[in-house]
């Protein structure tokens, strides 16, 4: 079973782990994710692959403690084993040389943009990165992202790091300032991705978003992750997770994401009772 090799607290609620998974490390490409379980009775939870080291056979996962599984995962120690780890899943990102790519990460989405920044830059794009979080304590991977990007803008809701405001404010200013942009790539909370897609749509500025619908098997078998893209039903787990933000039906996505709200709370309470931790 895949062993935890490294664990690091990145922010109050955000943890980085490295797991031994040679086959996944070998075949993973930017944009892909894994599914893991933390106990025999556990749910299958999808998490983005933040980084891989094929030589060492390691996969890096960054997660936010937001539900039952991530709560349990956060209690695991180096040397502990995951019950299951499946991947790499999802369609790899289409990385092409386009010119200037603006990469936007919000909250824990910042972890997910790192492979994209590296990949877009590796094929010769200029990468302008915008990262944002509620406050400086939640702003992760700042140094690493700064190193990998040609240009970095930081913004926080409360102004405790960088400017005060939202990532979309910076994007808007760049548009007003006629900054040349060939692609926008955004990962973060659904409302953030929606706002960004709405800003770029009238300009016909191609925008890719990475969606996080509810998943179960995550291999294309159950269809719970279905999203409407350009009027067609697509499966987030195999057709995605990356889609054209101008075509995504965000209202439908938000509705489907709320399906198990009550049960998610219940599962978390159950797990916290067992672990003896506070919710």
């Amino acid at each position: 079973m895949p062993k935890l090799l490294h664990k690091e607290k990145l922010a109050d609620n955000i943890t980085l782990i490295k797991v031994a998974a040679p086959r996944i490390a070998k075949n993973a490409q930017p944009g892909q994710f894994v599914v893991l379980r933390v106990s025999d009775k556990g749910e299958r939870v999808p998490l983005t692959i933040a980084e891989t080291d094929p030589a060492k056979g390691e996969v890096t996962i960054i997660f936010q403690k937001v539900g039952a599984t991530t709560k349990v995962l956060d209690t695991m120690k180096v040397g502990d084993e995951l019950v299951n780890l499946l991947g790499p899943l999802g369609a790899p990102a289409h990385i092409k040389k386009l010119g200037t790519v603006v990469v936007i990460g919000g909250g824990v989405g910042i972890a997910e943009i790192l492979p994209a920044i590296k990949a877009y830059r590796a094929v010769g794009n200029k990468v302008i990165t915008i990262i944002g979080a509620r406050c400086t304590d939640l702003l992760i991977l700042k140094d690493k992202i700064e190193k990998e990007s040609d240009e970095l803008h930081i913004i926080t809701d409360d102004g405790s790091c960088g400017r005060k405001g939202f990532v979309s404010d910076i994007l808007k200013e760049m548009i007003e300032g006629n900054v040349k942009m060939d692609l926008v790539f955004a990962v973060g909370p659904v409302p953030m991705m929606e706002v960004i897609s709405n800003i770029t749509k009238p300009l016909n500025l191609k925008t890719i978003v990475s969606l996080n619908p509810i998943m179960l098997d995550a291999t294309g078998m159950c269809g719970v992750c279905r999203v409407i893209v350009g009027g067609h039903t697509k499966f987030g787990c195999v057709d995605g997770p990356e889609f054209d933000g101008h075509l995504v039906d965000f209202v439908d996505l938000k509705n489907r994401l709320s399906t198990y709200k009550t049960e998610e709370k219940q599962a978390e309470e159950h797990v916290c009772k067992i672990l003896g931790v506070k919710i």
Binding site: R23, I24, R37, R44, P88, L89, L216, M221, V224, V238
Partner: protein, 466 residues
Amino acid sequence: MTDDINKRIMPEREADNRIKDFEEVALGISTEQAVAEAKRCIQCKKPFCVKGCPVEIDIPAFILEIAKGNFDAAAKKLKEKNALPAICGRVCPQEDQCEKVCILGKKGTPIRIGYLERFAADWERTQKTGDQRPETRDRPPDAPKMAVVGSGPAGLTCASELARKGYAVSLFESLHLPGGVLSYGIPEFRLPKEIVRLEVEYIQSLGVDLQLDVLVGKTITIQQLFDEGYKSVFLGAGAGLPRFMRVPGENLKGVYSANEFLVRVNLMKGYKFPEYMTPVKIGKKVAVIGAGNVAMDAARCSLRLGADEVTIVYRRTEKEMPARIEEIERAKEEGIKFVLLNAPTEVFGDENGWVKEMECLKMELGEPDSSGRRRPVPIEGSEYKIQVDTIIVAIGQTPNPLIPHADPRIKTEKWGGVIVDDKGMSSIPGVFSGGDLVRGAATVISAMGDGKQAAIAMDAWVNSPK
């Protein structure tokens, strides 16, 4: 016994009682019943039943052992041809296969071969007399490596046959439990998961190396399998892609594909939430669209999860329903309603995005279509709405596209089935396929037949000069 092949004579739990839990419904026949039934077999010199069995079990021989009271020997006889007898004894449609061609059926009741298969397999398991192993070739230390992809009925059979031929077999499964549709699809009350676990364990004991959490095409490619030294590959990834109705409102909360619903219930044990962490939500009024075995399973699971009213909505009539007759009967006994000659046209939601109504269109039967069944024709202006809060879409599955997508060298039919030659070989030399991935959603036993034929062909392929 009786004159009607479809009359169930196996003892089973009363409907009122069984709908309260997920425990097995059919209880198996007694030793006396089994021996008496076995003695009815006239031991044909040229038995039709064997020809009716996709894995060619020596049916008269195992029945004769039961008649003589040698139940272990009967189990061993079964396992010579079928590694999953306790499973097949439960879920095979024998009435369409071996029993259909039994000579006794011409004038009276055919032998209940399925009941006897289950009896012998259950006897062996419960008496724990040591498992009855068929002849198996020893595996030399330098045995060639074979890869089997998918641990459903096709893959399990192919893997066990290859292991018995002396190969070093790796069996790859993408989910966290083996069994494919036997684990995620068929509910506990029809096929206890403990039985699946034990029959898979038996196949592992033949030397098959089971590797979970490996999605071939993603975790490892077909080419990488060959690079790692596998000599031949069998693809048995099944028909996992759910079909949707493509009507407005199908994405509302409360609309499940049957696959999602059954995975939540069977594989993830959602009925034990929150002890098991995956929830499954069920409404008061459930509509299941479709009338195959999957639809019956979904309907009966809904009832057990606590729905007040469960209705099967089907666009043809009872005669055309693809489900086994005994499953339709059991569903009816349990109180499932049937609304026939009806097809959903739209789903409506409440202000929170949950399903609240479904519009249906009434149908009548027209001329037969390509499937030979009479085509449902809409009756214009017959639309009406019914109140529902859960909809489960069980109108079929198509072959899993993931592997052909990952390796475009694999040619497929328009509808997704992997194209194979008469030996079961795909368009990649040395890569074989079978079961639902080739046929579209079919039966457990036909998949097993394919797995077995593929193992024979893979053995020949590996040993042929290239």
